[in-house]
Amino acid sequence: MNKQIILIGLNHRTAGVDVREKFALTDIENFEQGLMAHCPVQECLALSTCNRVEIVAVAKKIPVPAVMDAVAEYWAMACGGSVELLTENIYRYADLEAVRHIFSVASSLDSMVMGEPQILGQLKDAYRSAVDKGTAKTIVNRLLHKSFSVAKRIRTETAIASSAVSISYAAVELARKIFGDLKPTRAMLVGAGEMAELAATHLLRNGVKEIIIANRTLSRAKELAESLGGEPIQIEAMPDRLHEVDIVISSTGSPVAVIKAKDVKAVLRKRKNKPMFFIDIAVPRDIDPDVNALDNVYLYDIDDLKEVVDENMAQRQGEATKARAVVDLETETFGNWLNSLNIQPTIVDLVGKSEDVAMRELAKTLKKIGPVDERTHNALERLVLSIAHKSLHEPICFLKRRTQEEGSAERFIDLARRIFNLDEESVPKNAHLDRKSATCAPEDIEQYIEVSKKEQ
């Protein structure tokens, strides 16, 4: 490869939050432009999130460690941190390893919560800013577009992102399994704990129509109602309003159960047996466990939800194996594309030389036949160029196929350049004394063709 992809970065696994904070990039656009100006790189992209900071760059074929060191130095300087501290905490990847890593990051295989969707959005933002500033060119463009499609493919073909891995999201998923569409449902928050608030936020985001917040302190209920857009009530009024809601999230911190089975039984009669879903996040529990024995009532406490989350985490780990296989396959495909980049100059030279020859021969022919009108001239020009291009079609296809093969690209490109003498090397007169001279005039070739025809 004439150009190399390098990647250096740190994440939640290699560096603590203090180090990540120190080396976080706040002004990414200026950083990227500065990196292009100060380091021997032709393209670059920087990604900075709370869990990772990564720099992808493309450099000409010079020793990779030197480029990485230069990028790391500039990074440390830009953040006002020490290079030693940075190099202690970073990981470095080059070429296909870098490609594989970017694909894994985009597919959230490298995230703290595997399968989380945020990273793809953050990577898209980083890419947009690199495009705006012109630091993303041929290779970074292709690499990022490919990483988005890999991420999409993994989301489609595996269940890596399909299961809930947080308590609040698990509650939403369970609610969906009971009610299906959450749009017509109403929820009640009993108590105003942090986790209950998070679950309520998730429910509202997923379409729950309305929320009632019941709390001992009405002012806190009002405060929360304002931020969530619900109705605040005193906790004493909760039993009378229970029949209005389908989902109840409880986290009061009361030492005794605040919702009992007999109360729920009465509520169900009022509701004409419409199902209810109780989420008890409190420890000790707020809701009498016997509630779960009632028909059309589902009760999940914090341990049940944790179990769901743990199961889903295990399932995601299993899906990660499938996802990694996709990443490997796509990395190989991308490697083939990178290899094909090496052949582009050779193809350009080959076509150029061939067109040159065709145009020279056309000029000679036109001299012989005398002046022709413009239409004929253009037709002849098109004819000779078409012959030149078509005669090269098969060799170019052959070369392209060879570049897809591991390790054979360089050899075939070199061979093609020598066969067609694309580098215009002069062959010494005394070369290959034991053989006929390799250089020959066009007339010799014509003579050779004539003899061959007669022999046939």
Binding site: K177, G180, D181, N273, D295, N296, E307, N312
Partner: protein
């Protein structure tokens, strides 16, 4: 092999393949396989419709011959399934509809020798009201059966905290299964009432057929009372979920027994 034999083999093959693929897709959670299975069922249903159409155009009396009304029940169950698929996005119910359609179609061929002879002047009325409404009821109950079994199974999973693991991404919500049950009861009970009492009326107006209680009529009436109870509890008292699902299974089982008994013991009219 004639056109009909070929058509029957094609229909059986499509229904069987659809059934196998759908069951496999449920266990493997493969959506593509599921879609393929359903489209095979659509194709089978189309051929089945053609088969019924050809049979009736060739011999309109076949309708009163009773040789293929199992086939009509299977066809009707699938038609209702497609309706539910369209309205409720409940493709999952193919787990019931497809095996039943296959079973009923094969049964219709196997029971081809049974003939039900009715007085020509009453054929249209009798078949239209009695057979037609019962066939539709059975189709609705087949759907209710599938939805009921699914409801009970997944309800138990949610109650025992196996919820999300047991209910994969493609499994509909409990509410959807309950909705199917509600529709089946709301549509099925009036139809069953019409089907049952139209035959009693027929006995009253047919001078050559004196009415007498027999096991078939008692069984049918028992099923009607059970169905009436389910209808009352569901519509008037607002029953939902587990209890109506269990009752629907009993009604369906009772109706199946009644139908099989009816098929085996029905005697030709004098």
């Amino acid at each position: 092999m004639g056109l009909f034999e070929t058509l029957h083999i094609v229909i059986i093959a499509l229904y069987a393949l659809g059934t196998v693929l759908f069951l496999t897709s449920v266990f493997t959670e493969n959506d593509r396989l599921k879609r393929t299975a359903i489209w095979l069922a659509v194709l089978g249903f189309t051929f089945n419709t053609v088969d019924l159409g050809l049979t009736l155009s060739r011999d309109p009396a076949a309708l009163s011959g009773g040789t293929f009304y199992f086939n009509i029940i299977g066809w009707c169950a699938l038609a209702l399934y497609f309706f539910l698929w369209w309205r409720l996005r409940l493709e999952y119910l193919a787990i019931t509809a497809l095996p039943f359609a296959l079973l009923l179609f094969v049964a219709s061929l196997a029971l081809g020798g049974i003939r039900v002879i009715m007085p020509p002047q009453l054929t249209a009325l009798f078949f239209g009201l009695h057979i037609g409404s019962l066939v539709l009821t059975l189709g609705a109950l087949i759907m209710a059966f599938g939805a009921g079994v699914a409801f009970l199974y997944y309800n138990r999973k949610l109650k025992t905290k196996e919820g999300l693991k047991a209910m994969g991404q493609s499994i509909p919500s409990l509410d959807k299964f309950d909705t199917v049950n509600r529709w089946a009861v709301l549509i099925g009970f009036p139809l069953y009432t019409l089907g049952l009492f139209s035959t009693f009326s027929w006995y009253l107006i047919a001078p050559f057929k004196p009415f007498a209680w027999d096991i078939m009529k008692i069984g049918s009436l028992a099923v009607w009372f059970l169905f009436a109870f389910l209808f009352h509890q569901r519509v008037v008292l607002g029953w939902r979920g587990r209890k109506p699902a269990i009752l629907a299974l009993w009604v369906f089982a009772g109706m199946c027994v009644s139908l099989i008994h009816h098929t085996i013991t029905f005697k030709a009219m004098p």
